[in-house]
């Protein structure tokens, strides 16, 4: 049978009975993004609690082994571990740094999005107290460029970012891939947003194309925010793109959703059975000045008459229900985009947390430094000063520049200490 020839999921050569078709939703559910990286809110929180807890334990264990180099006795060190909120703030801070760098390299939006996705996923598995996000962020960006077919050689990449070496970036690549459970495919809301942009013009032919275009550009901006939020773990790309667009232009998207998910049903609904008020209004066109004029749309009234037989009463209810559910999901997603988990910290906040992280990653080094400072009573610690050699065009990355090398030293030191 021809129908079974299409049905590739069934083993064999098409001599079997046909099964139900495979929908795009079915396909999405086979993706690693759905299988491994989609969560409920509670699951996501549980994962972060677990990772944070482990980060704290590791830090405390490290701190308990700090010895005074002179007396060779264990030192009691004040341990200040990070809260989940602090971890998130620092990740958000460096996610935005990644965006800055991606723009500097003129990378396409997928590379940027994939880098952020890698960074956020990495810290579901590892704690900020184990790996400093400024290092991980750079490697995520380099890896994302390769994954998205936008190859940049490590030398070019490293040269443009002060205080990095090819080695300092490459050394985390393997750990990141492993933390990602070897899943590298990321589906972003950019494509679906573009799809909605095309569909919107089709569904609402009377709305000025320029108006839709401007609205779409605004929506792209919100999508760029959305991919830094937890929405990527909680919603599908089309849900995120609709939510982002609705945040950018509620009026337009509400009309689109009604027309798309309620009115299109009319062709299947018995003549005269339903007349939903809002639907009559949705054929509005927006004039250049932005004011909305409502017009009647004749063609759709004809659609209503092309009714089909069947249990339309039930399906009408069902479509209402589905529409309500869709709205609910989109509203939830909108709230996620702006919730506290996606808050960007101030630079001072980030610096403060950053200092704590240095201590957590290497208590011995920090302790030693504190002692030395106390002993010498001089503030001269070069590695803490901001690298003045940072050129102007790279000033936006000044923070990674000044601190990246210091961290590498820290780790080398810690290795020596372990031995």
């Amino acid at each position: 049978m021809a129908a079974s020839a299409l049905n590739g999921v069934v083993e064999g050569t098409g001599n079997e009975k046909p099964s139900k078709g495979v929908t795009f939703d079915d396909l999405y559910r086979t993706s690693s993004q759905y299988r491994i990286w989609s969560f409920t809110k509670d699951e996501l929180l549980a994962k972060r609690i677990e990772t944070n807890k482990r980060g704290c334990q590791i830090t405390l264990a490290k701190a308990s082994k700090v010895k005074n180099p002179h007396t060779l006795m264990f030192e009691s060190v004040d341990v200040e571990t990070l809260t989940i909120e602090e971890e998130l703030l620092l990740i958000n801070f460096f996610a935005r740094k990644a965006v800055g760098l991606a723009n500097m390299f003129k990378m396409p939006s997928q590379v940027r999005g994939t880098a952020i996705s890698f960074l956020k996923k990495f810290y579901l598995v590892n704690s900020v107290m184990e790996y400093h996000p400024k290092n991980i962020m750079l490697t995520c960006l380099f890896l994302a460029a390769k994954v998205e077919n936008y190859f940049i050689s490590i030398n070019t990449f490293s040269k443009k970012i002060n205080n990095t070496t090819p080695e300092s970036i490459l050394k985390y690549e393997y750990q990141i891939i492993k933390s990602l459970h070897f899943t590298l495919m990321v589906r972003h809301p950019f494509r679906s947003l573009y799809g909605f942009y095309l569909d919107l013009q089709d569904v609402m032919p009377r709305v000025d194309k320029n108006v839709i275009g401007k609205s779409y550009d605004k929506a792209r901006g919100v999508v760029n925010e959305a991919i830094m939020s937890d929405a990527i773990f909680l919603f599908t790309p089309p849900q995120i793109s609709l939510a982002a667009w609705r945040k950018a232009d509620k009026e337009l998207i509400d009309r689109y959703l009604k027309k798309k998910f309620l009115k299109e049903r009319k062709s299947k609904i018995k003549n005269g059975l339903v007349s939903i008020k809002e639907e009559k209004e949705d054929s509005a066109s927006v004039s250049d000045s932005g004011s909305v004029t409502v017009k009647k749309e004749k063609e759709n009234e004809n659609d209503e008459k092309e009714a089909e037989d069947g249990d339309e009463n039930d399906s009408e209810d069902e479509y209402r229900k589905n529409y309500q559910k869709l709205l609910e999901v989109i509203e939830n997603c909108e709230n996620t985009i702006i919730d506290k988990n996606s808050r960007e910290p101030s630079i001072d906040e980030a610096k403060l947390i950053g200092k704590k992280v240095h201590f957590c990653i290497n208590p011995a080094k920090t302790f030693k430094r504190k002692r030395e400072d106390a002993d010498a009573e001089t503030p001269g610690d070069n590695s803490l000063s901001v690298n003045s050699a940072a050129s102007k065009e790279h000033s936006s990355t000044a923070i990674d520049l000044s601190e990246a090398t210091k961290d590498t030293e820290d780790e080398q030191e810690s290795k020596r200490l372990k031995v």
Partner: protein, 328 residues
């Protein structure tokens, strides 16, 4: 559980052919070596299932993990289908990666070359069906394979064909994205690629399948160009030269040149070339080998074509001809 990542290079292996690598898999015999990987045959200890291990070389690549390895991992993780090679597991050792793949001892090229084996039309239909189903699954996931050839169509001991080697695969390009045209092994390269097109679709894979289809019937490569220039001549001599009349905007492609204008083959010429082919077989070949990628059929259209409905029925994979294992 945390693991301290070793920053030293891979530890030294024994020179013995049997290498102990992991508690779950044994790595037995080395069977092949590519630019970025070494392939071993081994056994999954828990199930005693025979497996192939693709050990990805990590040393010596100055830009970190090789792009082909990244692509292979990226796409095989997403594709689960009976006609696509199964990525069973990935494990790491010594800061290196091992892809555990299902064990597929033969490929279609070996069968084509083994002249002691006779292909019936039902056999060819079976291989085509399995190839197209696997490809359909790639395309409906918006993944282009970009290197289809008989050598990359592997066969399980049970005769099931599986598409392998995703080292050149990529996701379908965004509308304005530029793709490299330097893909696909030359003989299976679609005309838009020969002309250096930077925007292409799954139609390039369909072309490759069309050429493989022809090769299955001819038992010899259908369009064996000696070099890139010759490939154009060989292709157009067999299928006619593209013109603005049969392929709108072809002259705007970067590498387009009007070398020799060959007329398209007549139906009778095609019948003579593929003497065993039925009319619907020819129809399907022709629609896969349309010069204009927009006119080429999709996997869906190919699978729904008359060829797969008419008699004979595709051979059951179990009953397909196999390579007789050589004596050791």
């Amino acid at each position: 559980m945390t693991e301290v990542v070793s920053l030293s290079g891979p530890e030294q292996h024994d020179d013995e052919s049997t290498l102990k690598v992991s508690s779950n898999y044994s790595k037995d015999t080395k069977v092949g070596e590519g630019t970025y990987a070494v392939v071993y045959v081994g056994v999954q200890k828990s199930s005693h299932r025979k497996i192939a291990i693709k050990e990805i070389k990590t040393g010596g690549f100055k830009d970190g993990l090789d792009m082909s390895a990244i692509r292979e991992m990226k796409y095989l993780q997403e594709l689960r289908h009976v006609n696509i090679i199964e990525l069973i597991d990935i494990y790491s050792e010594h800061n290196g990666l091992n892809l555990i793949l299902e064990y597929l001892p033969y490929d279609l090229e070996m069968l084509i070359k083994d002249k002691s084996i006779i292909f019936t039309p039902a056999n060819i239909k079976s291989w085509m069906l399995m190839t197209l189903r696997g490809l359909h699954h790639c395309h409906r996931n918006f993944i282009l394979h970009r290197d289809l050839k008989p050598n990359n169509l592997l066969l399980s001991p049970q005769g099931v064909l599986k598409i392998a080697d995703f080292g050149l695969a990529r996701s379908l390009g965004a509308p304005n994205e530029e793709l490299t045209s330097n893909v696909v092994t030359r003989w299976y390269r679609a005309p838009e690629l020969l002309f250096g097109s930077k925007h292409y679709t799954g139609a390039i894979d369909i072309w490759s399948v069309g050429v493989i289809f022809a090769e299955l019937m001819l038992r010899t490569p259908y369009l064996p160009g000696a070099n890139d220039m010759d490939q154009l001549i060989v292709t157009f001599r067999a299928l006619g030269s593209p013109t603005e009349a049969n392929w709108t905007n072809v002259s705007k492609l970067p590498g387009y040149n009007k070398i020799n204008i060959y007329p398209p083959p007549t139906r009778q010429e095609l019948r003579n070339r593929f003497s065993a082919a039925t009319e619907s077989t020819l129809d399907l070949i022709c629609s896969m080998l349309m010069l204009d990628p927009l006119k080429r059929c999709t996997t869906t259209e190919a699978l729904l074509s008359k060829y797969f409905v008419e008699s004979p029925r595709a051979t059951d994979p179990k009953s397909l001809p196999k390579i007789v294992p050589k004596n050791k």
